[in-house]
């Protein structure tokens, strides 16, 4: 029997629920930790970033108005589909991060568990982060958390799946939409995650995934006037980070600086809280 031809996959961007090639037509080679060729991936340009922000803005209204319960269900479904792709994730994480099969498996399990953990928070955030405030007058006074808007995320460079999930899930659980710039040299698990998102009821545009050079694309996201916050978790270069923070100041974006490399630790609510606004309402006590 003749040897079967290999079915090679073209890794593309994930924008507005579709998988387009880069507008620029460019691609780059992705290698494993030993330098062996893994795949070609789309190399995003500033115009892809622009399109992604437009898609994220368009999706914001629907996602933020969905009930918290519904968002939780959808995110839990993502974890279910991830579980179904477990073997694929393990292979990709092992190749991307140079891990043994066992450690890769542990990383994938931690990532899925992390997603489930965040999914559970969808309908619990307002109770925990909101409050009824004491005031000296005939009013009820409430503070309720609301999503910030469109959040750009520079995903961690080293931890290709667990790190990605740990920065992505806390952004969307509260109703934000996002443009994620995946790990530059380890993007394969992110591609697979985008396929998971596309097939698990997450509305198109809620998560948009770009792959490419952080130094090229991130400044356009940081300076974009229609992006409301930016997470610099994977902006490893200090000079670039400073540049991004300065650009982000133009429309007073919320900026989250990188603070950890240990993605296995209990994340707490800090990342969720970073991308929330607080709305306080005075309500007269009835007459």
């Amino acid at each position: 029997m003749a040897a079967r031809l290999e079915v090679r996959k073209t890794y593309k961007l994930y924008i507005g629920g579709a998988f387009p090639r880069s507008e620029s037509g460019r691609s780059y080679e992705v290698a494993d930790t030993k330098g062996r060729f893994l795949a070609n991936a789309a190399l995003a340009s500033r115009k892809d970033a622009r399109d992604a922000v437009v898609a994220a803005r368009k999706a914001f209204g629907g996602w933020t108005k969905a009930t918290a319960y519904n968002r939780g269900q959808i995110l839990y479904r993502v974890a279910e589909v991830m579980e179904g792709r477990r073997a694929q994730f393990v292979d990709e994480v092992a190749a991307a991060e140079g891990l043994t099969a066992r450690r890769a498996e542990a990383a994938v399990e931690a990532a899925i568990d992390r997603w489930v953990w965040y999914a559970g928070w969808a309908d619990k955030l307002p109770q925990v982060l909101g409050s009824t405030n004491p005031v000296a007058g005939p009013y009820y006074n409430f503070s309720v958390p609301e999503p910030t808007g469109v959040v750009a995320v520079v995903a961690p460079q080293e931890s290709s799946l667990l790190g990605l999930v740990s920065v992505l899930a806390p952004v969307i659980v509260s109703g934000n939409t996002t443009v994620v710039l995946a790990s530059e040299n380890r993007p394969l698990p992110a591609f697979t995650l985008s396929e998971v998102l596309a097939t698990s009821d997450v509305p198109g545009g809620v998560v948009n995934l770009l792959t490419g050079r952080v130094a090229e694309v991130a400044p356009w996201l940081a300076s974009h006037m229609d992006v409301n916050a930016i997470d610099l978790a994977g902006a490893d270069d200090a000079a670039l980070r400073t540049e991004l923070e300065i650009a982000a100041a133009d429309n007073v974006k919320r900026v989250r600086r990188p603070d950890t490399d240990d993605w296995t630790a209990d994340p707490g609510l800090a990342r969720i809280r970073s991308f929330l606004e607080t709305k306080t309402v005075w309500h007269p006590i009835g007459v």
Partner: protein, 326 residues
Amino acid sequence: MTRSPSALAVDQGALDDAVRSDAALRRFLHGLPGVDQVGAEARAAALSTRSIKTTAKAFAIDLAISMIDLTTLQGNDTQGKVRTLCAKAMRPDPHDASVPRTAAVCVYNDLVGQAREELGDSGVRVAAVTTAFPSGRASLAVKLADTRDAVVQGADEVDMVIDRGAFLSGRYLEVFEEIQAVKQVCHENGADAHLKVILETGELATYDNVRRASWLAMMAGADFIKTSTGKISPAATLPVTLVMLEACRDWRDATGRMMGMKPAGGISTTKDAMKYLVLVNETVGTDWLTPDWFRFGASSLLNDLLLQRQKMSTGRYSGPDYVTVD
């Protein structure tokens, strides 16, 4: 500039003869060469692939802004809405005084007075839609009264609709005389309102009809021919605009007079606007690249142009928070 040669040999004498009777008019309009549908669509598609960048793009954006008839034609239009629209027409971007004014504000008849008052002597013109817009289903007397009302209130431009029913059933002279009558009202009592004739190409079914209706309107005295009301889909398309621009070009060849053109409806992005400008440049030439002879009937287009302009002047992408909500 590449320019496909005019297939027409028409002179002023032929035009005068054509309007002597219904039969003569029909003979003339049906004697116009047929439109090559495939060719027109292919040419429009080919011209829409041009890439306009940097300084050319900046020029085109400002030109497009200055060509906009900023339009609101909703049943729920209020005086307040017209006021904000007029403010936007005079100063499209509050943060940037270098943005040109739009050409006109286009409103329903009863809001002309309000618009006139807001715009004052700013140079932005007031256009009114009349003749029982958008359907045109009313008696001639009502249509003329409608137009007179707009002109008396101070409309600089009148956008009338043709009677598509009469046109499609072949009563060309009736349509012709109606346009003439409206034109007369535009010039009553020393007024000098420009007449734009809306063909509503979405209801004309074929490009041949679009060409005939264009000639009919031009011969009846239109100052502008306009594609659509914006209430019918499809509204303006590139091939339809191409056919009408060719009519404008042939009209100038035949009579020596220029004819304005206004695509309206469905043009909402800068990219679309650029395609139309390319089409104008390549079909009728640079003489038409001015608000005097080419207009866009649009509302949301302006915001997109402003976003692109902000991107070009600041170097960063802008967002809908930085233009007005309308």
